[in-house]
Every structure is written in C-alpha cells, then in structure tokens.
Amino acid sequence: MSDVLLPDDPGFGPDVQVDYPGYRASRYRAPDRPLVSLPEELHRVDGPVFGEDALGELDWDLTRQYEGEPLGERIIVSGRVLGEDGRPVRNALVEVWQANAGGRYHHDVDQHPAPVDPNFAGAGRCLTGDDGSYRFVTIKPGSYPWGNHENAWRPAHIHFSLFGRAFVDRLVTQMYFPGDPLQAYDPIMHAVRSPKARELLIARFDLANTQPEWALAYEWDIVLGRSGGATPLEEE
C-alpha cells in the first residue's frame, strides 16, 4: 500500500504537488504544461466579498439542521483565518463539508455501504469575525474507503473552502485530526511532499475549548496567501 507514496521531500516547499502520481485521479486532470506567471499587480486584484445574506441562521452548527441530532462524536472546530503577514482575515466566507460519523457523505454518488444519517447533511458556512475567527459545531467524520489503490482509506477529514482578501488567496483544502494512523498511507495528504507543510493540515486537540459533558474541541488556523507557484523552481 505504501508504494503509492513518494518519499518525503522537505525541499519541495509548502505547496501540494499537483501531478502527484499516487493520487490516481490527477493523471488526466493535472495540467501537464508549466503555469504562466502573472504580472505582480494582478496578485492584488480584490476577490468577492460575502455578507450575512450568504448564511443561514444555523449554518455554523451542523448538528442542528434537522429535527433530530446526528449520530457520532460531537465536536467543536474553531480557529483563525490569517494572512501570511499574520493579520486576521475578517469577513472571510468559510464553507465546510464532510462525511457523517460512519464515513458516508450525503451525496448520491457516494456508494460506500455505511449508513446514511437522516439528521446530518454534513455542510456548513460561516463568516470570520474581526479577529479572523471561525467556529463550527459538528460531529467527527468517519474514515471511508475510496478505491484509489488496493485497500485505500481516507483519514478522517473536513473539507474547507475559503475566500480571502485578494482573488489569488482562494483556498480549498482539508483539515485532518491529530493521531489518525491512516494519514501515513494517504496519497492526497502526501501530495504535500514536505512533512512540515503537511503538519499544517492537522488540527490540534483543544482541551481549553472542549465543553464538559457535551463536546470535544479541535483548533485549526488557516493561512491564506501565495505559496509561490506549482513547482520548487517557481518558488525562487
């Protein structure tokens, strides 16, 4: 199973290798020609701004979108969205989606024979506060098989989508949980070749924010910014 992973490469830089061979679906989808540089001023083009009208009242609480409560381990996921300069990104739209506690998505294409939870859609949205903070209440997603290679299982994760200040700050990524043994075998995670950069995808268990008798908590900060292009050469 580990032969789908290339060796770690601390020199690779912070970005993901878009044509990582271990992730089979990238083969005919990752561009095979080099990216073209844009003039510097175009990196400062503002991106879209979203307001409260983009949100439903309970979009931040994935456990309260139906009459009944979803099954699984209730968790609080919170953190801050920052620029590379460390300043908070205010009013950033954060969108999340995830599998249910059994590892199944509320999606027609998902054929994993784990139960659908009628009380869990697995999607949320919020805007960051003045200090860049976001917060979701949800349940811990389960792992699931995905057919990329023999006996392939995704480590538990929550998908995150973010809009920053500038158009080029757009980010879609995944948050992982500390201590998950499946991370060592996951080609999507390992497409981030630098172990140090990979750690940036893993949340921290957050004892201070747990709510006694109610929910565990994880903290994950997200840094938006230019990561320097697609290949190590372009990072110079």
């Binding site: 912070p14 970005d15 993901v16 878009v18 990582y20 992730y23 679906a25 990238s26 005919y28 989808r29 990752a30 561009p31 095979d32 990216l35 073209v36 540089s37 844009l38 003039p39 990196h43 083009v45 503002d46 991106g47 879209p48 701004v49 920052l82 620029g83 590379e84 300069d85 460390g86 989606w97 998505y105 999606h107 294409v109 998902d110 697995g122 999607a123 998908h159 989508s161 080029v168 757009r170 980010l171 879609v172 990524t173 995944q174 999507i188 497409a191 981030v192 140090k196 950069a197 990979r198 940036l200 995808l201 997200i222 840094v223 938006l224 910014g225 230019r226 990561s227 292009g229 372009e234």
Partner: protein, 146 residues
C-alpha cells in the same frame, strides 16, 4: 512576520453538498457563457466546479459541471476578461485562468504565444459565449501561477 500558507487539497467528488447548495451562476444579465471542462483523454469532467469573478463589476458566480462536463453562467460582457478558478476531483490545487471576450485583449493576453492566447478567448456562438477548458494536451488551456 511571514506565516507558511496552508497547503491546498482537492475538493474531492462530493463538494456539491458544501459548495453548490444553491444556484450561484447568475452574475450578470445579458450574456450566456457556457462551455465544457475536458480531461487529458478528451473525456468530460463531470465532477468539477467552475468559479468566475467579474472584477470590474465585482460580481462572482459558481457552477458545478454536469455529466457532460458542461457549465454555464449568465454574465455581462467581459471588460476585457473574467477571472476563472477550476476545481475538480483529481485536482489537488485549483487552477487559475481567464476568459476573454472575442476581440478583447490586454497585456496579459498579448504576452502569450498566439496558440496559447486562443485557449483564453471565448467563441461567439448563437449570441452566447462558448469557453471550453482543457486540462491537458496540445490545446491545454493556459493556467496561471498565483
């Protein structure tokens, strides 16, 4: 202080539950922009999502691709271009491109070789604009480093 940026990861196959809960593909009123998202084997990409940003008018839109790889937007005529982000299962990082109105140009477009330029210019077709996005191959759409 410079913090390391959070790396990108793919949207995966199930993004529509989070990103496509409502129709968001009307960012203008006068012109239809449509096209197909196509992989390196000339097959449609049916699990992609296209975002467009009309920076001049500050209007944004998003549309998932269907089984034929088709996406469509209602826009106003680009002046001169719309910014485009391409997301899909299999894409570990979204790709950034631009769509120009036929006949439009600017210094970004002019800096490209003619064959590459053509990949960014929409085709006028039955009163609409058609813009296909090819991820690979000799006619691959130009994607920009950001």
């Amino acid at each position: 202080m410079t913090l390391p940026p959070t790396p990108s990861q793919t949207v995966g196959p199930f993004f529509s539950i989070g990103l496509c809960r409502r129709a968001e593909n009307e960012l203008g009123s006068s012109l239809r922009l449509h096209g197909r998202l196509i992989d390196g084997t000339d097959e449609p990409i049916g699990d992609g999502v296209i975002e467009v940003w009309d920076a001049a008018r500050r209007k944004w839109g998003r549309c998932p691709t269907d089984a034929q790889g088709m996406f469509e937007f209602t826009i106003d005529p680009p002046e001169p271009c719309l910014h485009v982000n391409v997301f899909a299962r299999g894409l570990l990082k979204h790709q950034v491109t631009r769509v120009y109105a036929p006949g439009a140009s600017d210094h970004v477009l002019e800096a490209l070789p003619a064959a590459d330029r053509a990949t960014l210019v929409a085709v006028g077709e039955d009163g609409a604009l058609r813009f296909d996005i090819r991820m690979q191959g000799p006619h691959q759409t130009v994607f920009f480093a950001v």
